[in-house]
């Protein structure tokens, strides 16, 4: 039914790879697997992993994807590529030759990004597939263990999945050991040098509480519980580790969605334009390409925004307009240097902060919306007065910005082993029903009362969950 065979793919792959090298992309070895749409749905449900531990949520995600696919709400992606070495990508059997060529080129773009962007440095690509395989094997072995079994595993996994994303956001920053942290605290508590100390009142020395657990607020909820709840059994700790590691693997992808998709789209366009495709393939390519990178009205299409930005960076460095030179100074790098540098050192937040200009925002007609009563209303548009605010809002909501920051403040609150956590409120309130349920999961893992400090409608509140259930009280 398809108008191609593997030979065609190999031929085009050869030519694409010549271009990849010519353009200076550096990729992991690449593997493609051709699959039908059932397999594709299967891979999607398990985030592309050839092996993955079982959990009902993946069944749910499969059903959801399949329903959407069956009813035509959403099609299947042309491709799916996972960050591993060798990079593994799936091609849909039923796609046309043009789509396959486009996809292969696109995949090399992602591959290069995975290999070079700093956020991915912490995921050890060559171990990815094995890691997931080992995890799956371990979870299955617990399921087969007569003293554990599926139900107990599910209870832990449900809770762990709910909390897994509450983890450290910037993996490039080194996590200090307790000893290092203590030393830093002691150093910081020393009075600062004061040249006028003779005439100043002597500062009181407040000794830091170096016995506190944790010393400084802790973001990694699962790992903290693993290390500080003595009542967990070994397999429970292991499950927490497994879920944590799984989530860590996906965080770079969450953090670089716009850059990554934009980068791959940028390069598939460059590569295909330089391939001298036969006319009918080229026309189909143009249609497909525009479908992928068109703006989604009222939403944000990462392919569109990403590609726009990369194009703009390149153009501003290679051919800046006089106004731009006046506003941003004369470019010191070539366009190519600039985009390769950004590829290495940015993530979505910093990328948008650095490169999303007022002009570009206006061109893309970005607006800020907010709910008013029943309706959703545009509150600000990217005009002279408010483009900065719109941009700030955008920066808040990309990548991990869409996940509330929750940290563990005290593991022995009121000397009673109550886990005191705090939501770092930035103007956005938590969804309370979800907070309540998630807190219940936290309590399940901690095995004792948990408290969450947050702000609801401008007032500080304490949500707590213990064996009697959920309760809230205002915080004075």
């Amino acid at each position: 039914m398809a108008d191609w065979d593997v030979k065609d793919l190999e031929y085009w792959d050869e030519r694409i790879r010549e271009k990849v090298e010519e353009f200076g992309l550096t990729c992991y070895p690449q593997e493609f697997e051709i699959c039908d749409h059932f397999q594709m749905l299967g891979y999607m449900a398990y985030s592309g992993m050839p092996s993955h531990y079982p959990h009902w949520s993946y069944g749910k995600s499969y059903e959801k994807l399949k329903t959407m696919y069956d009813y035509g709400v959403s099609g299947l992606p042309y491709e799916m590529v996972i960050n591993s070495s060798p990079a593994l990508a799936y091609l849909m059997r039923d796609n046309s030759l043009c789509l396959q060529i486009l996809t292969v080129a696109h995949v090399y773009g992602h591959n290069d990004f995975f290999r070079n962007n700093f956020t991915f440095k912490s995921t050890r690509a060559e171990l990815t597939l094995n890691l997931f395989k080992i995890h799956a094997d371990r979870v299955r072995s617990y399921a087969e263990d007569p003293s554990i079994g599926t139900e107990k595993i599910e209870a832990i996994l449900d809770a762990a999945h709910a909390l897994a994303i509450q983890c450290r956001r910037n993996l490039a920053i080194k996590k200090l050991s307790r000893e290092e942290e203590r030393r830093q605290m002691l150093a910081a508590s020393q009075p600062t040098y004061d040249p006028f100390q003779r005439i100043h009142k002597r500062q009181d020395y407040i000794p830091p509480d170096i016995q506190k657990v944790p010393l400084s607020p802790e973001e990694d909820l699962l790992l903290f519980i693993r290390d500080h709840n003595p009542y967990l059994s070994e397999w429970e700790r292991d499950l927490l580790t497994i879920v944590h590691e799984r989530e860590q693997y996906f965080i770079p992808q969450i953090e670089t969605k716009i850059m990554n998709e934009g980068w791959a789209s940028y390069w598939h366009r460059e590569i295909l334009n330089s391939l001298n495709l036969p006319q009918e393939l080229h026309l189909e390519f143009l249609v497909r390409h525009n479908q992928v990178v068109r703006p989604h009205p009222r939403g944000l299409n990462p392919y569109h925004i990403g590609l726009k930005l990369w194009d703009d960076i390149k153009r501003r460095h290679d051919n800046p307009t006089p106004e731009e030179i006046e506003k941003y100074g004369k470019p010191t790098k070539t366009g190519t240097q600039a985009i390769f540098e950004a590829r290495d050192v940015d993530r979505d937040v910093s990328f948008l902060r650095r490169f999303l200009t007022e002009e570009l925002m206006r061109e893309m007609d970005m607006f800020q919306y907010e709910p008013r009563g029943e309706e959703i209303v545009i509150s600000k548009v990217s005009d002279k007065e408010s483009w900065r605010e719109v941009k700030e809002m955008l920066l808040k909501s990309v990548g991990m910005g869409s996940i509330p920051v929750i940290k563990i403040e005290d593991a022995d609150h009121s000397h009673n082993r109550i886990l005191y956590t705090k939501h770092y409120h930035d103007g956005r309130d938590l969804q309370l029903e979800y907070a309540e349920r998630t807190l219940a999961y936290l309590q399940r893992l901690w095995g004792h009362e948990v408290i969450l400090e947050t702000v609801v409608n401008g007032k500080k509140v304490l949500l707590s969950y213990n064996d009697k259930g959920f309760s809230t009280k205002p915080l004075k």
């Binding site: 190999e10 792959d13 790879r17 990729c27 070895p29 690449q30 593997e31 493609f32 697997e33 051709i34 699959c35 039908d36 059932f38 299967g42 398990y46 985030s47 079982p54 009902w56 949520s57 993946y58 069944g59 749910k60 499969y62 059903e63 059997r93 709910a162 509450q166 996906f250 969605k257 009205p297 009222r298 939403g299 944000l300 299409n301 990462p302 392919y303 569109h304 007609d365 970005m366 607006f367 919306y369 907010e370 709910p371 309706e375 959703i376 209303v377 545009i378 509150s379 719109v390 809002m393 955008l394 869409s402 996940i403 929750i406 956005r428 309130d429 969804q431 979800y434 907070a435 998630t438």
Partner: protein, 404 residues
């Protein structure tokens, strides 16, 4: 730099057939959905909206158990979108529910997003789930009463003997031709002279054969008896209605043909339409026996227990005239003899005036296995009392004697 050779793994059908790896997880998920519906049944049954609806009506059931909870931002969080170039402040871009999807659309791959989850089930499915979970050990083993009725309609093959009226002319003619060919062969005649007669013989005759088909009759009637005296207010009627609804739905799952009869009574019983039954209030005192007598009459007239399975249920607030009690008890006994199941539900919403006279005490004297009294005080009681009611269905032996 040089890249190691790219590998293309071709499509393999067998892999695809083998690789339904999500099967186990999907099954577990479905199981959770069903569990969640089951957990919510008590709430759903109390929901006014499902009472008295058509079977194919779709009901939205919020699935709590299978939501994946995370810490997420609330609904009133602002966000950023992209317009078509003409966006103006103050422009309305959507309704409340769409929020979260609007921006989640393309991020759905790796972000939790707003996990709205509701499933649509038809009322029929819902009822199936409801009754599948009825923990009635007897119920499963018990074969519901089936009344045998004879019908003379089924054809079954052909015979050489029979009565004239069932003669099958075509087959008879065919067998005559067969016989003629056989004779031709035996006598080694090349060409048969068409002029020569070859009459039908007794052996050629073919008759249609009919068998008497015994088919179990699957008829049931639900007799709803309700006190419509002045003391039955809207709330009480609503509770009664919910109960009748469940009973009807339950009986419908077990029998092919189910009819509903409404008997309203105050001091005298009348058969009324559904509309009148639930909406027409009447005043005056109460003779419960009058409703029972009417029901007995209707059963005698139209729903003879040899052909019908009778389920009767009576709802009242228990406010009966003292003098009527012995008669009512006697009539109830008679109903028990005729019905598969007869129940009395006393509806006393909390906060309503407590009547000293309660039929529950009177009916305690009635010793029939298929009789059950329930007390309904509020919406939440309906489901448990309904379960209790069903647990009392008459055992099969009793049924057989009744129908014999």
């Amino acid at each position: 730099m040089t890249i190691a050779a790219t590998i293309f793994r071709p499509y393999s059908q067998s892999d695809s057939l083998r690789s339904d790896r999500s099967a186990g997880d999907r099954q577990r998920h479905r199981q959770k959905v069903r569990e969640s519906i089951r957990d919510n049944i008590a709430d759903l049954v109390a929901e006014e909206s499902i009472i008295g609806k058509e079977k194919d009506k779709i009901i939205k059931v919020p699935i709590r158990g299978v939501k994946e909870y995370r810490f997420i931002y609330g609904e009133n969080t602002p966000g950023v979108g992209q317009g078509d170039g003409n966006s103006q402040p103050g422009q309305v871009i959507g309704k409340g529910e769409q929020e979260g999807q609007g921006q989640g659309d393309e991020k759905a791959g790796d972000q939790a997003g707003v996990d709205y989850y509701e499933t649509d089930v038809t009322l029929e499915e819902l009822i199936e789930i409801m009754f599948e979970d009825l923990e009635l050990p007897d119920m499963e083993r018990k074969i519901l009463r089936e009344v045998l009725s004879e019908r003379l309609s089924k054809r079954k093959g052909y015979r050489r003997a029979g009565i004239r009226i069932r003669l099958d002319k075509k087959r008879t003619a065919i067998s005559r031709i067969k016989r003629r060919l056989a004779v031709q062969r035996r006598e080694e005649i090349e060409e048969w002279d068409d002029e020569e007669r070859f009459p039908f013989h007794q052996d050629d005759m073919r008759y249609r054969h009919l068998v008497t088909d015994v088919r179990p009759e699957s008829n049931a009637v639900v007799i709803c008896i309700m006190d419509t005296s002045g003391s039955m207010d809207t709330m009480k009627k609503y509770l009664a209605r919910s109960f009748f609804f469940l009973l009807y739905q339950f009986v419908s799952t077990k029998y092919r043909n189910v009819e509903l009869v409404f008997v309203a009574h105050h001091t005298e019983g009348r058969e009324v339409t559904e509309e009148e039954f639930f909406h027409k209030g009447e005043s005056g005192g109460t003779f419960i026996s009058s409703g029972y007598t009417k029901a007995l009459d209707i059963i005698q007239e139209r729903y003879h227990p040899s052909v019908w399975n009778v389920y009767a249920f009576h709802c009242s607030d228990g406010d009966n005239f003292e003098s009527d009690n012995p008669t009512a008890l006697k009539a109830a006994k008679q109903l028990c003899d005729l019905c598969n199941l007869f129940g009395y539900g006393e509806i006393k919403p909390l906060g309503s005036r407590y009547y000293e006279s309660s039929m529950l005490n009177i009916f305690r004297r009635l010793e029939a296995e298929n009789f059950q009294t329930v007390l309904i005080e509020r919406k939440e009681d309906i489901w448990p009392s309904f379960k209790a009611f069903l647990a009392r269905e008459r055992p099969k032996e009793a049924t057989v004697t009744a129908s014999a």
